[in-house]
């Protein structure tokens, strides 16, 4: 019986990909390990190898096809001498066999369809937009700023030839050359310091950390050299620099590769800390960060890179650092979130609406300087607040929001603030435990019901 070759997943978060090229043609003999095809996602390229010996009997998905969902059969391999034509003919009549049961589906089936594109906050921008992924919005932000200012350059591991570990810097080397798109050795403390030194000299580096987990090795340079120098020099010298990269919980990579550092950096005077969610905010805030004369920690999220949003075309579209955004208006409860948690909060708001609870979602966008005004105004309206973050609860952003609310609008509260946070444990690997450790939509719904007593 012919065996199916399935569309593989290149990463735990991949839902679909493109068949870039068929290396083998129909009728070619194949041996286990032979490369059959090349597939591509926006992040990576991979070869599909044959696992069985036989003949490539049928190419089901032709080359060049995009948006092929993971696990879709893309080819059939027949055992030598087998009559595939007959089998195919038979198959065409019979209903297709049920797919083999899978233990833990990596993605819900619906995820294979393109997600609905949320609307842009029209109060901010009325010009033309293009729908693109967050990854592309970040790339465009960097490219535009590099075109605008020759002192801006990008430095980091795999940013140039490899096009970015998460493909954020795609095409930048080609446009700007090796002088301005610099691959570094794997040496976080070293290249963070090199970037800061160059910034002291007046250049405007963008330093990419492959993920913020690895920035721990550079923490001393970020805090002691970047954040404090303006103050310690009486304003003579400073680091106009951006440190950016994915932060927060990734999928199934366990504790050392999955952590939210927002509260760590937000603790430090001298740093600005940004953690956007929408594509427009990623672009507008990254451009603001690059132009900002202070060191900015720009926290992205791996699970958001592939999401699509309408993004303003105007190269002067800047989102100011330090201003939160009302992502959804409501009157019954304020839900404060940032980065990927905004998406979950919006989903929770949908569910709450069905229960008759109108949640107002505040997308913080910036963590330092903190937009006290927007949060407090919302609490004064709703009298109830839930603070959501992926990070750990102790001394986290939610704890800070609780203090801010106490200081500014205690008398307006009708219920104590409730936090939804990552659990107070290193992030586990097992799928079920990971789900338990990371905030889910249901947790936000439950917290909102708790503070509204409904």
């Amino acid at each position: 019986m012919a065996s199916e070759v399935l569309m593989p997943a290149l990463s735990p978060t991949m839902t679909e990909g493109k068949i870039a090229r068929w290396i083998k043609s129909e009728g070619d003999p194949v041996r286990a390990g032979d490369v059959l095809a090349e597939i591509e996602t926006d992040k990576a390229t991979m070869e599909v190898e044959a696992v069985d010996e036989g003949v490539l009997a049928k190419i089901v998905i032709p080359e060049g096809t995009d948006h092929v969902a993971v696990n879709t059969p893309i080819a059939l391999i027949a055992e030598n001498g087998e009559d595939v034509a007959a089998e195919l003919a038979a198959k065409a009549k019979a209903p297709p066999p049920a797919p083999p049961p899978r233990l833990a589906p990596r993605v819900p089936a619906a995820a294979a369809e393109p997600p609905p594109v949320p609307a842009l906050d029209a109060t901010e921008y009325a010009g033309p937009t293009t729908t693109m992924t967050v990854r592309e919005a970040l790339r465009d932000a960097m490219a535009e700023e590099m075109r605008r200012d020759p002192d801006v350059f990008l430095l980091g591991e795999e940013v140039a030839e490899y096009q970015g570990a998460y493909k954020v810097s795609q095409g930048l080397l080609q446009e700007f050359g090796a002088k301005r798109v610099i691959d570094t050795p794997i040496t976080e403390q070293g290249f963070a310091g090199v970037g800061i030194g160059a910034a002291f000299a007046g250049l405007k580096p963008i330093v990419e950390f492959m993920t913020f987990n690895f920035a721990m090795q550079a923490m001393d340079q970020l805090i002691n050299s970047a954040a404090k120098t303006r103050y310690m020099s009486g304003g003579q010298m400073a680091a106009p620099i951006v440190f950016r990269g994915p932060n927060g919980v990734a999928a199934r990579v366990a504790a050392q590769h999955s952590q939210c550092y927002a509260s760590w950096y937000a603790h430090v005077p001298g740093l600005k800390v940004v953690a956007p969610y929408t594509g427009a905010d990623h672009k507008g805030l990254l451009k603001s960060a690059i132009r900002d004369p202070n060191p900015v920690i720009f926290l992205e999220h791996e699970l958001v890179y592939g999401e699509s949003f309408p993004v303003p075309d105007d190269p002067e579209y800047l989102v100011p650092i330090g201003r939160a955004r009302i992502a959804r208006a409501g009157v019954d409860v304020t839900i404060v979130a940032f980065s990927r948690m905004v998406k979950l909060a919006l989903e929770a708001a949908e569910a709450l609406a069905k229960l008759g609870i109108a949640a107002e979602i505040v997308d913080l966008r910036t963590l330092r300087p903190f937009d006290v005004e927007t949060v407090v105004a919302s609490v004064k309206k709703t009298n109830r607040i839930v603070a959501v973050e992926e990070g750990w609860p102790f001394a986290g952003i939610g704890a800070e929001i609780a203090a801010i609310v106490m200081e500014h609008c205690f008398d307006w509260l009708d219920a104590p603030l409730v936090r939804v946070t990552g659990k107070d444990v290193p992030l586990p690997y097992a799928a079920n435990l990971e789900r338990l450790a990371v905030p889910q939509v249901a947790d936000i719904v439950a917290a909102a019901r708790e503070v509204t007593y409904r």
């Binding site: 090199v194 310690m232 001298g270």
Partner: protein, 341 residues
């Protein structure tokens, strides 16, 4: 002092070797510069004892030849960075002793308006990039200054000073690797004064020939008698010319010695008094040069005496300024945290 030793991972550029014989004027200048640092540091020590200077205060006494010989090998436009034992570097960069001393006393007339103190001072104007309290941290920063020179192609170089203790920090080697890989214009000056705080080099370093430390990265290193300002200057000229010509970094290990404690409170148990006395009497860079100026260069004793008086006067003036200058206005607490975007 051992004679000059060298390890040539790459030969130093041919154009870099011929150091001109120094004129008496030039050497007299070195004398004046070293003396100013010595007198300044002595005075800082006294003022610390009087409670006018707080916190950590690391004196440079004994090491003056290193920074004076080295800085004289540079061009205006070259950038300089060092650690916390930085008063000498600032004076050698031409920063005003008044502003340095007023920073030590934490007054508004200090280079950092009283917000940095002994270990954290900077001067944009003099291209002095600090003054850093974290051992090893200035090495990547100085490498970044070199990257900026390369990026702008301005023909200037970075001189990055650090200690024998700092030489064991991992980020030093991360920097060596990048600097050599990218052929950055940087001279790494290791000021080997034989001790970290109280840990001698041989108790901290598996191999004590620190000028070898760049070999795995293809960086030429040279060991220099750091108590001889002329030797330092010649090595500095060669190293600067080499790296300025685009051939990558150079390491200069300066064998030097600090006479005073690591900072003001020092147990003085980790070395003998005899060792310190021997270095002071037999190798002092300043008295050594004074003798040469008199004997070899026939400079008049009265001229040297005038220099000595001038140094003392400048330090007295600086000390006075640093004591009379008011403390920073309380509003300064909140300034310079951020710049307006």
């Amino acid at each position: 002092m051992p004679v000059k030793r060298k390890v040539e991972a790459v030969p130093l550029a041919a154009n870099a070797v011929a150091a001109p014989r120094l004129s008496p004027d030039r050497l007299t200048r070195f004398y004046a510069d070293m003396l100013l640092i010595r007198r300044f540091e002595e005075r800082a020590g006294q003022m610390y004892g009087m409670g006018l200077i707080g916190g950590f205060c690391h004196l440079y006494i004994g090491q003056e030849a290193v920074v004076v010989g080295m800085q004289a090998a540079l061009e205006a436009g070259d950038t300089v960075i060092t650690s916390y034992r930085d008063h000498g570097h600032m004076l050698a960069c031409g920063m005003d002793p008044k502003g340095v001393m007023a920073e030590l006393t934490g007054r508004r007339g200090g280079y950092s308006h009283g917000k940095g103190g002994s270990m954290h001072m900077f001067s944009r104007e003099k291209n002095f990039f600090g003054g850093h309290g974290i051992v090893g941290a200035p090495v990547p920063l100085g490498t970044g200054l070199a990257l900026a020179h390369r990026y702008r192609d301005d023909g200037y170089i970075s001189v990055t000073y650090f200690g024998d203790g700092a030489a064991n920090q991992g980020q030093v080697y991360e920097s060596f690797n990048m600097a050599s890989l990218w052929k950055l214009p940087v001279v790494y000056v290791i000021e080997n004064n034989r001790y970290g705080m109280g840990t001698s080099v041989d108790r901290a370093s598996a191999r004590t020939d620190l000028f070898h430390r760049g070999v795995p990265y293809g960086i030429t290193g040279e060991q220099v008698d750091g108590m001889d300002v002329v030797a330092v200057h010649e090595a500095g000229l060669a190293a600067a010319a080499h790296t300025r010509s685009g051939q990558g970094p150079v390491i200069l290990e300066m064998l030097t010695y600090r006479y005073r404690g690591h900072s003001m409170s020092d147990p003085a148990k980790y070395r003998t008094k005899e060792e310190v006395d021997r270095m002071r009497t037999e190798h002092d860079p300043i008295s050594h040069l004074r003798q040469r100026l008199l004997d070899e260069y026939r400079v008049a004793d009265s001229e040297l005496k005038a220099i000595e008086k001038a140094a003392r006067d400048r330090v007295v003036e600086a000390a006075q300024f640093a004591q009379e200058c008011p403390e920073p206005d309380p509003s300064e607490l909140w300034t310079d945290v951020y710049a307006e975007a």
